[in-house]
């Protein structure tokens, strides 16, 4: 096979028809970021691999494209924007609150031929330095405004909480192995195993509490129902559920409550999330079209101790939707 005629596995060209759609999508999203006064930046395409592999962030190192640089250190092709932006805000802007937006490509390895791309276009925003729920409200406001501008029919914003889950695990007092099993059951919604697990491991809980755990992966929608059914008394969880409730009320006031769906069984993939986590879906795309969350402990690792929340649109997936 002559290498100059074909592309490596996972690589694609974007021709003018697809590019037209891509540029339109980016234009609409950028308009919203500008309207909310987010500074548009372009982090370096290259960072030391260590940026992504440090402190157990949860990014799979095997997925990152890296090479040995001149200094002998490993250099990575941009795999994520949140980490480089955390580095930039902590070391260059150094002030909070900071509002940063970006549009660009992230790269990952595709070791097989299952239709996955090695390059993904993303467009996102990070709101750094605001601890209270106003930050969640602003971010979701940006998301819903962009979704309207993009004319996406009936999108869903599925919201969970890393804070709720971490505290809930503490309340349940399980061993490390039991926790691992519990989180596995929750992330995959393994209902068959959940029944057995609850009956075996949580014999000491009340019936109400056992019922709650059993329905948790299937109980989603209005946050108030979730709050009502929560069968424990805990301040951390109460505060977090209250925050999510405020968010739902805000969405109601702004007219996008219909898009929201709260699911407290969500297990965040990345370890840097400390509070709300959310993903967006719409019919016609088999994967999420945006994702984000709060990460209050990340910038501390770069020397700036402050809260942060952000999200990004998967433009590559949006193109699939619009392309029809």
């Amino acid at each position: 096979m002559n290498n100059i005629y074909t592309l490596p596995i996972g690589a694609t060209d974007i021709l003018d028809d697809e590019n037209k759609i891509k540029l339109q999508i980016i234009k609409q999203i950028q308009k919203v970021f500008d309207a909310y006064n987010y500074k548009s930046i372009v982090p370096s395409m290259f960072d030391y691999l260590e940026l992504y592999t440090q402190s157990n962030i949860g990014i799979d190192e095997k997925q990152i494209i890296s090479f040995q640089g001149d200094e002998g250190k490993l250099i990575a092709l941009r795999a994520d924007f949140t980490l480089p932006i955390a580095r930039i805000v902590a070391t260059k802007y150094k002030t909070v609150p900071s509002r940063i937006s970006y549009v660009g490509e992230t790269y990952q390895k595709t070791n097989n031929m299952l239709g996955r791309r090695s390059e993904t276009t993303v467009a996102g925003a990070e709101l750094i330095g605001i601890e209270n729920v106003l930050a969640e409200e602003e971010i979701l406001s940006i998301v819903s405004t962009a979704l309207k501008k993009l004319n996406i029919k009936k999108p869903k914003i599925v919201i969970g909480s890393s804070k709720f889950l971490k505290r809930f695990l503490q309340l349940l007092e399980m061993s490390k192995e039991e926790e691992r099993q519990f989180l596995d059951i929750m992330s995959y919604k393994k209902t068959s195993e959940l029944e057995k697990f609850v009956d075996n491991k949580f014999a000491k809980l009340s019936n109400e509490q056992k019922s709650y755990i059993k329905i948790l992966p299937w109980q989603f929608g209005d946050i108030n129902e979730l709050i009502e059914k929560f069968a424990w008394k805990d301040e951390t969880i109460s505060k977090e559920l209250d925050r999510l409730n405020k968010l739902q009320k805000y969405a109601h006031m702004k007219g996008f409550e219909e898009m929201l769906e709260f699911d407290l069984s969500i297990v965040p993939r990345l370890n840097y999330y400390t509070g709300i986590v959310f993903k967006g879906y719409c019919q016609g795309v088999g994967d999420d079209i945006f994702s984000g969350g709060r990460y209050d402990k990340l910038l501390e690792q770069f020397g700036l101790d402050c809260p942060a929340i952000g999200f990004s649109f998967n433009v590559t997936n949006l193109i699939k939707l619009m392309g029809e």
Partner: protein, 208 residues
């Protein structure tokens, strides 16, 4: 709703379960060479297990019935595993001749043959043992018999194939059965239909 079924034994077992749950499976039994059939408001797709998972990944189908063995081996795992149907029960096991533990080896890493290299790697990694994995496509019992490997990691059901080659189960690795998986987006948008399917199957299996 687009429902994927793994062709072959899984298909037979799942169709029986669907029939018991009150679903009309006659058009599915009469499909002859067709790989996709519409019945009532569902489209049934018949394919190999790996492909069902690929279709789920791309959102081409909403739910799929596949064996846990293929699910473990495939790298894509971003779906919901809603049910264990309790059929197609078998298990992964390390198998070899009876003298496996005591046999003297000439190379430093044991050669293990398997159709499931990922499962094999995970198993030996959990035992901190360095092995050389030889991927085979099938009839893996041949490997120790022909001498290309000292042992195999394979699926065991009755154990009769092993017995026929003088092989034994050295250690059981993991239980396998047929599972129902669902695309995450589908789960959010056609939640009611998917839940109904799960409950129809569950209700009926309780009655049995």
């Amino acid at each position: 709703m687009k429902i994927g079924l793994t062709k072959g034994r899984v298909e037979e077992q799942v169709l029986q379960i669907l029939e018991q749950a009150g679903y009309n499976i006659k058009p599915l039994l009469d499909k002859k060479r067709k790989l996709t059939v519409e019945v009532d408001s569902n489209q049934y797709i018949f394919a190999k297990a790996n492909d069902i998972i690929t279709y789920i990944e791309h959102g081409i189908i909403d739910v799929g019935f596949v064996g846990k063995d293929v699910m473990i081996e495939q790298s894509f795992k971003d779906y919901y595993e809603l049910m264990d149907l309790g059929v197609g029960k078998c298990y992964f096991a390390l198998c070899s001749f009876a003298n496996y533990d005591t046999k003297k080896f000439t190379s430093n890493a044991r050669k293990i043959a398997s159709k499931y290299p990922n499962v094999t790697r995970m198993y030996f990694s959990s035992r901190n043992e360095d092995v050389e994995i030889i991927k085979l496509e099938g009839s893996v019992e041949l490997a120790p018999v022909l001498g290309i490997a000292e042992a195999i990691v394979d699926i065991v059901e009755t154990g009769s194939t092993l017995k026929a080659h003088n092989l034994h189960v050295i250690e059981k690795i993991q239980d396998i059965s047929v599972r129902m998986i669902a695309n995450k987006v589908s789960f959010r948008f056609i939640h009611n239909e998917i839940t109904k399917l799960v409950n129809d199957i569950k209700k009926n299996s309780k009655e049995n």
